[in-house]
Symmetry: C2
Subunit: 245 residues, 2 copies
DNA sequence: TCATAGGGTTGACGTGGATCAAAGTAGAAC
DNA sequence: GTTCTACTTTGATCCACGTCAACCCTATGA
């Protein structure tokens, strides 16, 4: 893990020009309101692959909207074990964990060369006191994170290995689709080990589950390249969790 | 599971009089600001043991502060499997999951006869546009929920059975202490099955782990009554997760 | 061109919890 | 009191996933 890359480019972000605005904080704002958000979003910041946007313990000052690329967030136990708490893609917001204690409680690491919009948090609070729709959208973003986390708990607490991987693939598929990419064919930006950490499995188990899906004709797997062949089949894997209590 | 008990008592809540205010939404507000919050907090509502405050799919209109008693929240899979996503006690806020989609995404069930303060959400947003400290405290409450969820993911994804139970007991202990109760001796309001669901274990495994802790002199367990004998021992169980990878 | 390194896959085997089953306990209902 | 009922404990057995180990694949760079 390399040191945090501090490269705050002076390039201005521009929500109004951003094709991600329907997924991101500007959702639901009028043109005028988006302009005000533009003023607030200070700089963009480039983060190289494997570098960290922030790490646990860092002072909390801003949240980040992913402009290009993708990230993972994780928490570390003293003994070094890692739990990946999420994978984030464009339009998603990073850093919400830091609000509660004024310090970040997890690490955010770029999975590929990425770029984020820096949103100074105190300014965001200020503006959202004036712009109702921004306030509401921000609350929705936070609530969505909570709901997402509950889904992960369901996955970790109540599903078996193959169900977890199926749920993971379906979730990725949906998110790629929302961004205008193919929901059926995509590249994984994370390793088997990281997937395993996220899903509460060992990398070998993840690998075996991929192979099983391939044997069953559900997906075609070539390293990190995934093609979903039988979407319905994957979904059924999930709803048929019934077998066991 | 009985039907939702709709008993909106007309009793006014009064944050200013509430001894939970340091744990709850009024934290950090001035007397004046608390008075304004008082106006907003409409009614209290009593929920009988095993009854539901809200359920997945219900329209979202308000969040709830627990005044007395305790709750569990859970999500259900189509096949009926339950994942408990949290146990909430006095001063904690319920219902944040509903903001994102205008509908609740989990069920909240009282573990004992309980009482909540009903906080109409649109009014809360309105007031927090005027009262900066309320806005900030609300954001902290949401963020804290996200951080808590990450902790549960860590637990579910990376810990073994006994570590999970130890973490659970230590967490309860801390929260009882924060409320002025004994951190060493308390009653569990949930069943072994519910603990198991929360921790991603079967009830038998929870029961066995309790017995093991008892044998080792870490805690005294009599049904739902728990007495922590060796707090440090429990903590060490957690930091010594090192053994396995 | 080959060497090296970081993933990924696959097989053989072990084990922590799940499952199945039976018996114990505490309240609530009568 | 006695009988339910809901919950808990404990033992015996099983199996899904972890562990350990070998090998493969692709990319990068001397």
């Amino acid at each position: 893990m390399k040191a945090t890359a501090v490269t705050p480019t002076t390039l201005k972000a521009a929500c109004s020009q951003c094709n991600l605005r329907e997924l991101c904080l500007p959702f639901g704002l009028t043109g005028n309101e988006i302009d005000r958000l533009d003023e607030l979003v200070g700089t963009k910041r480039k983060i190289r692959r494997q570098h960290q946007l922030y790490r646990a313990g860092d002072d909390f000052e801003a949240i980040y909207a992913i402009r290009t690329g993708s990230f993972k967030t994780d928490v570390l136990l003293e003994d070094g074990r890692e739990q990946v708490t999420g994978f984030q893609m464009t339009g998603e917001i990073l850093g919400l964990d830091g609000i509660s204690s004024e310090a970040h409680s997890c690490n955010a690491t770029a999975l590929e060369d990425s770029e984020v919009c820096v949103i100074p948090f105190s300014k965001l609070e200020e503006l959202s006191r004036e712009v109702e729709s921004l306030q509401h959208q921000f609350h929705k973003v936070m609530s969505r994170e909570i709901v997402r986390d509950h889904g992960v708990m369901m996955l970790l607490g109540s599903m078996r290995a193959e169900e977890r991987l199926a749920a993971f693939l379906l979730n990725l598929s949906k998110r790629f689709m929302a961004r205008g990419y193919s929901p059926a064919e995509f590249h994984l930006r994370m390793t088997r080990d990281e997937i395993g950490s996220y899903l509460g499995l060992k990398l070998e188990t993840v690998s075996r589950a991929f192979s099983k899906f391939q044997d069953e004709g559900l997906v075609a797997v070539h390293q990190k390249h995934i093609r979903i062949i039988d979407l319905e089949g994957l979904k059924q894997l999930l709803t048929h969790c019934a077998k066991h209590t």
